[in-house]
């Protein structure tokens, strides 16, 4: 072999050796074990510490709450959805406390009215509903229930319930005059509440022969405003006599 070929061969050999040496140190050991990546990285990600304990842990200590919640409307709502991550609390309950949402913001994430929410999902207009009261001062979040009667209607129609309370009809329940109450609450757009369609309806209390208390104002329905239904002139939520 000529000397120059030997020198070249030596040079190539040296370059190959350097390459192998560099590769040995540069490429991580576990690279390529499963594919074109560092196999050890899977363990690094898998080894991170969780912060949410999961839905099964809370009941180990808070059995009473979990039992109540299980049969309520909030059965599918995990504890940590409202109380935040709780793994550290479950491991060290005395030092690491869990958050208890206060005020009106957190409930509103689910229950403030938004047209995009599914019809029938319980929603309120925060501007109309419950003043500045914290949600939990009326509703038990572990066993939530809608209000009843006027309270139920006031969740969405609080201007009306406020007006009603200051007028002469304040002792009348909304359902005295409006029907289809419960269906309207679950499907407000498709099931509209009734409004009285006849003069005889108001006449049950206000006609001359009615059996209502004497203090209730009477009219002779044969001569009085015969072309109209009563509430078209007398605003029934704040009734007043015409002049």
């Amino acid at each position: 072999m000529p000397a120059q070929a030997k020198r070249l061969l030596l040079l190539f050999g040296l370059a190959a050796a350097v390459f192998v040496l560099i590769r040995h140190f540069a490429v991580p050991e576990s690279f390529g074990r499963y594919g074109h990546y560092r196999a050890e990285a899977v363990n690094v990600v898998a080894g991170l510490a969780p912060r949410y304990a999961g839905h099964l842990v809370c009941g180990e200590c808070h059995d009473d709450v979990v039992t109540v919640k299980r049969t309520s409307q909030h059965a599918s709502v995990a504890c940590e959805a409202c109380h935040g991550p709780g793994l550290s609390h479950s491991e060290d309950p005395t030092e690491q406390n869990i958050s208890i949402p206060a005020g009106r913001e957190r409930c509103g994430y689910c229950h403030n009215y938004d047209a995009t929410r599914p019809t029938g999902f319980p929603q309120i207009d925060p501007a109309q509903h419950g003043g500045d009261e914290a949600c939990t001062s009326c509703h038990n979040p572990h066993q939530p229930k809608p209000g009843e009667g006027e309270e139920l209607c006031g969740a969405c129609h609080s201007e009306i319930t406020r007006t009603l309370a200051s007028g002469r009809h304040k002792n009348l329940d909304c359902h005295t005059c409006h029907g289809s109450g419960t269906e309207h609450t679950s499907a407000p757009d498709s099931v509209r509440p009734d409004v009285p369609g006849t003069r005889e309806f108001c006449g049950q209390c206000h006609s001359e022969g009615a059996s209502s208390p004497e203090s209730v104002p009477r009219i002779d329905s044969s001569t009085h405003g015969e072309d109209y239904v009563c509430w078209q002139c007398h605003f029934s939520h704040l009734p007043e006599a015409g002049r």
């Binding site: 990285a41 898998a46 999961g54 935040g84 403030n112």
Partner: protein, 279 residues
């Protein structure tokens, strides 16, 4: 030992009764021999079997070692159930230390409003983490509206993995696309390649970051944080290759769509009843 092995007694020709051998047999097994064999057989063969069983029992009690080859994960999203409360977004940020700035998300929720003139209005203020303010569209102008949670689709054929120049992102054996933080050079190729916008550059670590299906949770038998806190069970996590899982029942019983199927990335996040505008 081999000669005395009881199995050879059973398989030997015409040894129906141990004490009444048939004529013509050169080997005679008496009841005494048989019992002697049995005494030897029980400790030699029985104990190791018992030992093995106990060992297996102990192993199942401890919780078996996690084997990624046994899993192939996916997620179902029941679009009709999502109420846009954004708890998943918050839980994801809490669980995975995702920066709180309003443009870094591993998962986020979009609101779609379709108007009668065919226009689609899409918004996602702060990823939906503080729920959604009123839409600014009167209800008479809404033809259809829904929320859409989004996250990494953990594609079977992920473009992000294909373009990574250093092998810092990859598909695990259980079907999760992960990022190797210590190997990523922060070149952002994968962020560009992802057709779903599911990746971002972590502002402090300067590496690509994305949803891991909460890999650190699912390998411990927990559910991903977003699934854990979803109040309406709109997110369903589980196995895609087993018939009897909640996820697969959801896929069987709903009309399922995936995002951008024409890109042939084989995404593993399954949406029910998706509007054609979104696909």
């Amino acid at each position: 030992m081999k000669e005395d092995h009881p199995l050879s007694v059973r398989s030997g020709p015409s040894t129906t009764n141990g004490d009444s051998p048939t004529a013509g047999n050169d080997r005679v097994t008496t009841r005494r021999d048989f019992l002697k064999c049995l005494i030897g057989f029980v400790p030699v063969v029985g104990l190791p079997i018992l030992g093995l069983n106990l060992g297996a029992l102990a192993a199942t009690e401890k919780g078996r070692e996690y084997d990624p080859a046994e899993h192939w994960y996916g997620m179902g999203i029941d679009v009709g159930l999502c109420i846009g409360c954004g708890r998943c977004v918050e839980a994801c940020k809490e669980e995975n230390n995702v920066p709180r700035d309003p443009y870094f998300f591993r998962t986020w929720v979009e609101r779609y409003i379709k108007t009668p003139d065919g226009k689609m209005i899409v918004d996602s203020p702060n990823g939906g983490m503080n729920a959604f303010p009123p839409a600014g569209v009167s209800e008479q102008e809404i033809l259809r509206t829904f929320y859409l949670p989004k996250l990494c689709n953990h594609c079977e054929k992920p473009p992000c993995v294909q373009v990574c120049p250093v092998g810092a992102t990859f598909n695990t054996k259980d079907g999760v696309v992960l990022v190797d933080e210590s190997y990523c050079i922060g070149c952002r190729y994968c962020i560009q390649a992802c057709p779903y916008g599911a990746r971002y550059l972590h502002p402090e670590k300067r590496v690509a970051d994305k949803c891991t299906f909460c890999y650190h949770r699912i390998t411990k038998g927990l559910r991903p944080a977003c699934v854990e806190v979803c109040p309406t069970s709109a997110r369903i996590f589980g196995e895609t290759r087993r018939a009897s899982t909640p996820l697969w029942r959801f896929v069987r019983t709903h009309e399922i769509h995936v995002l951008k199927p024409h890109l042939r990335t084989s995404p593993k996040v399954y949406y029910s009843d998706l509007d054609s505008e979104v696909r």
